[in-house]
């Protein structure tokens, strides 16, 4: 175990008493509670942590936050492996394992670093210009090579063992960011009694206060921080959410956030999710997300050991790590000097300070005090070193070059406001010439920006903005205004800055976008080739398209493009950001909805009974329905289904039909309403009778079918297909509320209230006789075909009996309140036992409906008209109905539209398949010869051969003709004869039996 050679003896917000062992690339290290993986690696002197995307250059830690482009690792292992994880935001835990990525065979020796040698050819967009010859080589050779080299980390692939949740929150004020501005805002609003949610992506609140040595009200800022947090925690309506990233801003004040519930643990505790995806609904929001520090583009600026100056302060002050023995500071402003000061205060050595600005006596004095050489008007021309920084070349004001050795180069070039969320609704940031950065431009309604995120970079401004905006938000949310309180005072700070976008003339590559290996030369090339609009620049060079979304690179790229085109930065473009602010795990946004829980499952009241019977179930829209009921010894589904069908046609069977949609329709105009939504007539339907109905969409195509029964003068019960129940309900509500609100029609779904079972077969009546209470006469005379009346069962339980048939047999549907569904099916089984009653599933149901030529889902596919289906004569010519006019359009009434008929194989041993197309015998299988297609097929145990339904040009006029059922995707080509779609009992004798 190493000794953490770069750890300071004291200081920082780590717990030296709590040692945490972890491993990186198989080597064990030790860190402390409060470390990030990056700080722990740095403490252990690990500099090289990754390889770059294209050139496989060695890379180290650049930042201390979410903007990190280099230090990406594969965290954890096996099914929990998380690729591309930024070491700078990983909270260290005991047992953590991490591995470097995009290298082979090892991080230190990476064979693909030879890409660096051929790099002159690998400029931006090189692939667009080559790999074109010979044409066949692209897919076989070039592209596979490119793909293999692409990508960074490896995804686990295997099922994620952890679970995720969603959650919804509501508040008066959402504060995004728990730094000084956010804390002040939350406190101000919270004191007013506002409901406040304060989110911070870090595991510890405080923002930059954790990384800086600052004073508030004359005391160390840590005291203000502790007091503020304590007060916030005492306010019942304030909710503090650390480890929570607000990643996106959506319409109407809805924010997306991800809470990392258990990422700081080896694995989630029992019953806890790994992460929780939040939708936060906020009346007001304050963006207090701070700012991100900017690098400088110079040769070798990617060497491990080149680090942003603010990040260095984070490691020194927060983590107690001094990331180098010998530091050079390259700064374009005052902010960088704080790094030199803090390093010196921690006992580190600052060898030199290179300040891009002209000489200044005060700075000279300070450099002397720190014991550092000062290069005023200086620049770092290049950084050397292989796997870690060994020295820099510095140009002084006179243009003379000096070589200095160092192992840490801290770079300071000012900060960019973290304004990402302000651009999520297409808002464009505005350039602030004084601050030399983009600041929020158009900001979405309800959002205010505080502190550094607004370009107000001093601590005093952050505290002031927070308090002011927090108060305003509380008032806007309807709470009483509170008297202003004095803003805390801070120690003085200066933020003089003269940014340096790049240093030209150095030797070697100067990186703009570290992660995507975009250099200043690539930006120049884009300018030369006309890819000058900022979006062209990004897309052509891939600048800003990596996992960091250009947080550290977009502005440098823009600035170099501006220089190339002799324009200003704002003339060149803006830097906008798409959501999410930082990458979000897919699992967190899916929550509970995966596997069987992807979508709700609907189960019929008879489901458990079917399960007892050994049913095989099938997904039918949202439902699981019994598909068939295999018996012991039945080895394939067809044997079972044949048995079920035969049993029904020979004796009696039963099948759950509870899944059909059932809509109770009442009101004085109920019959008139049905006239308008169905193509056929309803006013003359007597009470106690059912009728088959067909409804169209307004565009004239068939929407749905079903039977509707008249239960009373002003009371109907409509049934819909299982698949369309919701759609039909919505359609009926539309027709009523939008088209004809003047009608008295009142509808409610009663699908869930009734358990319904079909009892079919010659013995259906005898079976029912024992189940229906004896006072009800269900003889053929008293209860004829299409009768639909209330009855009772089990000695007074209300029920409804319908004599309708999908199978063509004597058949009924019996409905009872759903609580009695299970009892009903058991009673029917008992009553039918003498006849060998057989439960049947959707397969047998399908066979029998095909035998009878009834249309179902495969025919009602949204592309067929009533005429196509042979139901044109149902269309009343005496009334208007939905779809009437459009169904009459020229192309929909043409004679050669494929229409509905049956098909049987000429060789009865041959199998038919739905989806086959019809082609004339002897004609080639080309589109011009396509005459239609098979919609449904089944094997008929009654006929002992396969049969099909389908649509073919000429339809019923061609009965007796033979065509090919052509099915090349299944190697099928069967000669079939066109026949009537009614295969069994065409006279309907069984139905009326």
């Amino acid at each position: 175990m190493s000794t953490q050679p770069f750890r300071l003896a004291s200081g920082g917000l780590i717990d030296r008493g709590q040692q945490l062992d972890f491993s990186f690339d198989g080597t064990s290290y030790r860190g402390y509670a409060g470390d990030t993986l990056a700080s722990a690696l740095l403490a252990n002197g690990v500099r090289l942590v990754g390889r770059s995307f294209k050139y496989h250059r060695p890379r180290g830690v650049l930042t201390a936050g979410p903007e990190e482009p280099n230090a990406l690792v594969e965290l954890r292992s096996g099914a929990r492996r998380e690729p591309n994880t930024r070491a700078t935001v990983v909270e260290l835990f005991g047992g953590l394992t991490a591995a470097s990525q995009n290298r082979w065979p090892s991080l230190a020796f990476d064979l693909l670093s030879i890409n660096g040698l051929v790099s002159p050819a690998l400029v931006a967009g090189f692939y667009y210009k080559t790999f074109m010859w010979p044409a066949s080589f692209w897919e076989k050779l070039y592209e596979p090579l490119i793909r293999r080299a692409a990508g960074l980390g490896r995804a686990a692939g295997a099922e994620d063992p952890d679970h995720y949740e969603k959650a919804f929150a509501f508040c008066d004020l959402l504060v995004i960011g728990g730094g000084p501005a956010g804390l002040a805002a939350a406190l101000a609003a919270g004191r007013s009694g506002a409901r406040v949610i304060l989110c911070d992506e870090d595991f510890r609140l405080g923002g930059r206060l954790l990384a800086e040595k600052r004073e508030i009200d004359g005391k160390p800022a840590s005291e203000w921080l502790a007091a503020t947090l304590a007060e916030l925690e005492s306010l019942p309506e304030v909710r503090i959410m650390p480890r929570t990233t607000v990643f996106g801003l959506y319409d109407h004040g809805i924010f997306g956030a991800v809470e990392r519930v258990a990422d700081h643990l080896p694995q989630p505790p029992a019953h806890q999710p790994r992460q929780r995806g939040w939708r936060i609904h906020a009346k007001r929001a304050i963006l207090a997300s701070g700012a991100l520090e900017r690098p400088i583009v110079f040769a070798g600026n990617d060497r491990p050991g080149v680090m942003l100056a603010g990040a260095v302060r984070s490691y020194v002050n927060r983590h107690g790590v001094l990331p180098g023995r010998e530091t050079v500071l390259f700064t374009a402003g005052d902010d960088g000097w704080r790094t030199a000061r803090d390093i010196a205060a921690a006992g580190g050595k600052v060898a030199a300070i290179v300040d891009s600005r002209p000489a200044d006596p005060a700075r000279k004095a300070l450099a002397d005090k720190l014991g550092a050489r000062l290069f005023a008007s200086g620049a770092v021309m290049g950084a050397r070193g292989g796997r870690q920084l060994s020295g820099v070349t510095i140009r002084d004001a006179s243009g003379a070059m000096s070589e200095l050795s160092c192992d840490l180069l801290a770079v300071s070039n000012g900060w960019n406001p973290t304004l990402h969320l302000t651009s999520h609704q297409n808002g464009k940031p505005a350039w602030d010439d004084g601050l030399q950065c983009f600041v929020p431009g158009t900001v979405p309604a309800g959002l205010a920006v505080a502190g550094s995120a607004a370009g107000r970079f001093t601590l005093a401004q952050a505290l002031e903005d927070g308090a002011t905006l927090g108060n305003e938000a509380a008032v806007e949310a309807g709470l009483a205004a509170r008297p202003a309180e004095p803003t805390p005072t801070t120690d003085p700070e200066t933020n003089g800055l003269s940014p340096v976008w790049r240093v030209s003339g150095g030797k070697g590559k100067a990186f703009v976008d570290y992660q995507n290996d975009v250099t200043d030369k690539d930006v120049e090339l884009a300018a030369r080739e006309g890819f000058r609009p900022v979006e062209h620049l990004k897309r052509y060079t891939t600048l800003g398209m990596a996992t960091d979304q250009g947080k550290t690179s977009n502005l440098s790229g823009l600035a170099i493009m501006a220089e190339q085109t002799a324009k200003t930065i704002p003339q060149t473009g803006t830097t906008t950001f798409r959501p999410p602010y930082t990458p979000v795990a897919i699992g967190a946004l899916a929550g509970h909805h995966r596997g069987r829980g992807f979508r709700p499952i609907r189960l019929a009241p008879t489901h458990d009974w079917s399960k007892e019977q050994g049913a095989v179930f099938v997904e039918a829209g949202p439902w699981l329905r019994a598909q068939y009921y295999p018996k012991p010894g039945e080895t394939d589904w067809l044997t079972t289904v044949n048995r079920e069908v035969k049993a029904v046609r020979a004796s009696v069977g039963l099948c759950d039909v509870s899944t059909l949609g059932k809509i109770d329709i009442q009101g004085a105009d109920a019959a008139e309403f049905l006239e308008r939504v169905y193509i056929n007539g309803w006013k003359a339907l007597p009470v106690g009778k059912a009728r088959y109905g067909l409804m169209l969409r307004e565009d004239g195509f068939v929407m749905d079918d079903g039977t509707t029964s008249r239960l009373g003068e002003t009371h109907f019960l409509m049934t819909t297909t299982t698949a369309n129940a919701g759609k039909v309900m919505q359609h009926l509500e539309f027709c009523h509320q939008v088209l004809w609100p003047e009608l008295d029609v009142r509808m409610v779904s009663v699908s869930e209230q009734w358990a319904q079972v079909a009892i079919a077969g010659p013995k259906a009546r005898e079976t029912l006789r024992d189940v229906i209470d004896p006072e009800y006469d269900i003889s053929n005379e008293a209860f004829p075909y299409l009768a639909a009346r209330p009855v009772t069962v089990g000695g007074g339980i209300p029920a409804r009996l319908f004599r309708i048939s999908f199978s063509g047999e004597l058949a009924y549907e019996l409905a009872v309140p759903a609580d009695y569904g299970d009892a009903m099916v058991r009673a029917l089984m008992q009553a039918g036992a003498p006849f060998g009653i057989t439960p049947y599933g959707t397969e047998a149901l399908g066979v029998m409906r095909i035998e009878k030529g009834h249309v179902a889902g495969n025919e009602l596919n949204g592309q067929t008209t009533a005429r196509d289906l042979g139901l044109g004569r149902m269309m009343s010519s005496k009334k208007d109905f939905v779809g009437r006019l459009m169904a009459g359009r020229q192309a929909l009434v043409e004679q050669d539209r494929p229409s509905f008929v049956g098909f049987k194989p000429v060789d009865p041993s041959q199998r038919l398949r739905a989806g086959a197309h019809f082609i004339g015998i002897g004609k080639p299988g080309v589109m011009e010869n396509d005459e239609g297609y098979m919609t449904s097929v089944a094997y008929s145990p009654h006929l002992n051969h396969w049969m099909g339904l389908g649509l073919i040009r000429g339809g019923a006029n061609r009965i007796g003709e033979r065509v090919r059922a052509y099915d090349p995707v299944r190697n099928g080509d069967v000669v079939v004869e066109i026949c009537s779609p009614v295969f069994v009992d065409p006279e309907g004798a069984r139905l009326h039996g």
Partner: protein, 210 residues
């Protein structure tokens, strides 16, 4: 006759889905779930312009006023629960509790029996809102969703009807009704969501009003 051999016993929507006991973490339960069974339920829809007449009829029969906003109005034997414009659910504490009431109300309303169409449960306990927040897309803060409020909404892609009753000894009390066919999926969401706080589950078969 065969009917004597068959019990015709009703089977609750919850049957086979949930068992009494503690789910999730052990120890003091963050929430208590009581599964409700045996209540009567019916949809009432007033005729155009007939809300007042229906309301008067309901009031004369069972002494409660039909709410015209999303509220539940509890009564001695029945509750009236708003379920859409000019539409209510009438809940009787027992399945037999409607007696001739529905028949009488059909003079002024389209009445549809829904007694078997929904599964219902009552939730109370210190973490009840934390659990509901994992699925309910509504602000259930005590000051926003007050006693007597009701909402038709959805949880985890499942339509629900929920309301808040008078506070009990464990704090706020909510009831949730869900379509019978989806109770298994609903429970799957609920059990996963409640597990981190621990949930004591009991079943009340006697009455819908506990």
């Amino acid at each position: 006759m065969a009917e004597t051999a068959t019990s015709w016993a009703p089977r609750s929507a919850w049957a086979g889905v949930v068992q009494a006991g503690q789910i999730g973490v052990a120890g003091a339960a963050g929430v208590t779930a009581t599964l409700l069974d045996g209540f009567g339920l019916a949809t009432l829809i007033a005729a155009p312009g007939g809300t007042l007449a229906l309301s008067q009829l309901v009031e004369s029969r069972i002494g409660i006023t039909l709410p015209t906003t999303p509220k539940i109005v509890p009564g001695a034997s029945h509750d009236a629960i708003w379920s859409g414009p000019d539409q209510w659910l009438l809940r009787a504490s027992t399945r037999e509790g409607f007696g001739s009431l529905l028949e009488a109300l059909s003079a002024q309303a389209a009445v549809s029996d829904q007694s078997d169409a929904r599964a219902a449960m009552r939730l109370t306990g210190p973490r009840v809102r934390d659990i509901l927040a994992k699925g309910v897309m509504l602000d259930l803060h005590p000051s926003t969703f007050v006693v007597g409020d009701t909402a038709l909404t959805s949880i985890a892609h499942i339509g629900v009807h929920l309301w808040r009753l008078a506070d009990g000894p464990d704090g706020s009390v909510f009831e949730i009704m869900v379509a019978r066919s989806m109770v298994g999926s609903f429970w799957s969401w609920f059990a996963a969501s409640a597990a981190e706080f621990g949930c004591q589950v009991s079943i009340d078969r006697s009455t819908g009003r506990g």
